[in-house]
């Protein structure tokens, strides 16, 4: 861990004590060696910043008066520290895993200037409603974007809701599993009630590249990150969590919240929740919006309720404060 490392707030030793309520023979539960976390400085991104980092892009007016919203996104090969002492040759959008969280409003024109700075051909495939040549798959429209080349993807911001984008080059599973995915949030016209908003992208790293499951599971790029640096929220405040699942090689992911329930809006395409629950499942590409208020202060775990994924890194804490 670097000097400006990720251990703000609580020391790892405190976390380990807290995590182990005693009576387990000193075993403090699933964790990395000595409760260490990765070097966010080396990676160039911090999972805590990724949570609330919404990229609204830059806007201009089209001749018809509508808003054009525009982003520049680059594919970059980057070695990441995915667990303390473990390096992974990731392929990324803009040098981070997950890629940026793009945010737009319903009724806008969206333009993505994509440059491929990676050594491999890539595409950007968006989930949404758009023409075939803007689908970002090989053989259609611009097709595969070769290293050093670029293209422009342009489409309407529809439908409103929570969407995702990922590379669609072959071999597809590996291009996604290497880290090439991100989030696209489209606001409904009427907006949503004000809330403490955050995004979590579920995924994994198959560090052995054998395509047989993953060695590491996480939200927002770094396993156990929110165990060591809990997600801070305020008591009684509305929390809105944009949750997507980009996990490869394993069929189903899930999200479970301790000590609380949440309203669930599948894909975020309706303004009425479908369910009030504490556990939901998502297959690959599935996503939804969770809304909750914490009536109690303290630490509440959240994790995949597939325990294997949880203990291989996909777990964290909310820390509720007054």
């Amino acid at each position: 861990m670097n000097a400006d490392g990720s251990m703000t707030g609580v020391s790892s030793a405190e976390m380990i004590d807290m995590h182990s309520p005693g009576g387990h023979g000193g075993h403090a539960g699933a964790m990395f060696r000595e409760g260490r976390s990765v070097d966010n400085g080396f990676n160039g991104f911090d999972p805590t910043d990724v949570l609330r980092d919404f990229d609204w892009g830059r806007t201009s007016k089209l001749p018809d008066g509508r808003t054009l919203r525009e982003w520049d996104i680059n594919a970059i090969d980057k070695e990441l520290e995915v667990a303390p002492g473990v390096k992974f040759p990731a392929w990324t959008f803009d040098g981070r895993v997950p890629g940026p969280t793009l945010r737009a409003k319903q009724g806008e024109r969206l333009r993505i200037n994509f440059g491929n700075g990676s050594a491999h051909p890539h595409t950007m495939h968006f989930h949404g409603i758009h023409p075939a040549d803007m689908d970002g798959v090989p053989g259609q429209g611009a097709g595969l974007i070769q290293p050093g080349e670029s293209t422009v993807y342009e489409f309407e911001s529809e439908p409103f809701g929570l969407h995702m984008f990922h590379c669609h080059a072959e071999p597809l599973a590996e291009h996604i599993a290497r880290g090439m995915y991100g989030t696209l949030i489209i606001e409904p016209k009427e907006g949503r009630p004000p809330a403490d908003e955050m995004v979590m992208v579920q995924a994994g790293y198959n560090t052995t590249f054998d395509g047989q499951g993953n060695e590491l599971y996480f939200v927002n790029g770094i396993p156990f990150a929110y165990m060591y640096e809990p997600v801070k929220v305020k008591k009684d405040q509305l929390v809105r969590l944009y949750l997507t699942n980009l996990l490869e090689y394993d069929p189903i992911n899930s999200f479970h919240l301790h000590g609380n329930f949440f309203d669930y809006y599948p894909t975020g395409t309706r303004l009425e929740p479908s369910e009030f629950t504490d556990t939901i499942a998502q297959v690959q590409g599935q996503r939804g919006i969770l809304e909750m208020r914490f009536p109690h202060t303290g630490r509440f775990m959240f994790h995949a309720h597939k325990t294997e994924f949880a203990e291989l890194g996909w777990m964290g804490f909310f820390e509720v404060e007054e």
């Binding site: 023979g25 060696r33 303390p84 002492g85 473990v86 291989l312």
Partner: protein
């Protein structure tokens, strides 16, 4: 070739100077290849080759200790450890492990007795090196109790039965030359079986090891060295006897060589028992102890076979019993603490070499009055010896 000047200059040079000259040339060429040769060849492509062998697993409540060795060509860093699909806290192995380097990892994990565990060592490059614990059982501590158990096991299966076997000596003496050669044939059959059995066991064990020290080759090397060493000792003893003009006293010498050979074999036997006990895989029932005892009583018989025509000396006989049986105690102690399957295999290989050497020595002693080695009686006795060990061996599968 024979032109006078140069030849005579060379021949006048002292031998040591010539040897030094040759060495200097060889060294210079090797240094040159070492320094510049590497650059003339392409570098190896592809990722590092990471290979770790878990040589010993020690389980204590809430903790699993793994002794690991780098058995591959490249450096390995163990970054994280997975036990049954969960990352666990651990200490040790904080620095990269070089080729042949050793490390001990202490894993904090609340294991449950009898459960299997799949351990994954996640290296700095993301490779997962697996290790399986078939059934978790607490490892006995190498304290006083353990020491006492191992000494007792060694006595039961080694010293006592071998000494018991020697009680057959009075019978032998009554039987005469024909019986003696038959009994020696029986011994050869018995030892031949032990040699094969030991070889198989050593190779089986070496297959479990990392192979970093040569694996099977190390077993054969150990056997060969043991054979040569004992041959040398035997030749040296014969030479001394000739000097002291006691050419007739070879019965005791033969018995001593048999005792040493069997002793080295019993070391291997103790090793197997000790290591099985240490990992909790040994059911120390009375059936096993009795099985080993019967098995090893035949070995006592083998030792006294060459002594049929010698004067019995009780202290010397007890000494032979100790030489043949005592190493079982030692083997059990070592087996309970030795950390490498490969080393254990090599130790058993030593026993095999020793036994083969004894067989070579005993074959001339099989001759009957007419000087024939293979007679109907001796071949039957050979077969009986092999069968005796095979059958008693069935009682004792560790």
């Amino acid at each position: 070739m024979r032109d006078g000047e140069g030849d005579s200059a060379l021949s006048r040079m002292p031998l040591w100077a010539m040897a030094l000259g040759v060495l200097a040339v060889v060294a210079a060429v090797l240094v040159a290849i070492g320094s510049f040769g590497g650059d003339t060849l392409p570098e190896r492509k592809g990722p590092p080759i990471e290979n770790l062998a878990v040589e010993k697993t020690v389980l204590e409540p809430g903790q699993i200790d793994l002794s690991i060795r780098n058995a591959g060509p490249d450096e390995v860093s163990v970054a994280q450890v997975i036990v049954n699909d969960s990352y666990v806290n651990f200490s040790g192995g904080g620095t990269p492990i070089g080729r042949l380097g050793e490390e001990t990892l202490s894993l904090s994990y609340p294991w449950i007795e009898g459960n299997p565990y799949e351990i994954g060592l996640l290296t700095s490059t993301g490779v997962v090196i697996p290790h399986t614990i078939e059934a978790a059982v607490e490892t006995p501590e190498a304290g006083g109790d353990f020491l006492l158990s191992m000494i007792l096991i060694g006595l039961y299966v080694g010293v006592i039965p071998v000494t018991l076997g020697m009680l057959a000596l009075p019978l032998l003496r009554r039987g005469g030359r024909r019986w003696t050669s038959a009994l020696i044939a029986f011994t050869v059959g018995l030892l031949g079986f032990l040699a094969i059995d030991g070889s198989l066991e050593a190779l089986e064990l070496s297959a479990l090891g990392s192979g970093v020290f040569g694996g099977d080759a190390l077993v054969f090397l150990a056997a060969g060295l043991a054979f040569l060493t004992l041959s040398g000792i035997d030749a040296w003893m014969k030479g001394r006897r000739r000097k002291s003009e006691k050419a007739g006293a070879s019965g005791w010498q033969l018995a001593l060589m048999v005792a040493i050979g069997i002793g080295l074999h019993n070391f291997g036997e103790g090793l197997a028992i000790g290591s099985a006990y240490a990992v909790g895989e040994l059911a120390l029932g009375s059936a096993l102890i009795i099985g080993f005892a019967i098995h090893n009583t035949t070995e006592g018989l083998a030792i006294v076979a060459p002594l049929a025509s010698e004067k019995p000396r009780i202290r010397a006989l007890l000494g032979l019993g100790l030489i043949a049986g005592g190493p079982a105690v030692l083997g059990a102690l070592v087996g309970g603490s030795v950390s490498s399957d490969e080393i254990a295999a090599a130790l058993i290989g030593i026993g095999v070499g020793a036994i083969l050497q004894v067989v070579v020595q005993l074959i001339p002693a099989m001759k009957d009055e007419a000087g024939r080695t293979f007679t109907p009686v001796s071949t039957a006795a050979l077969a009986a010896g092999a069968l005796a060990l095979y059958l008693t061996g069935l009682l004792v599968t560790v």
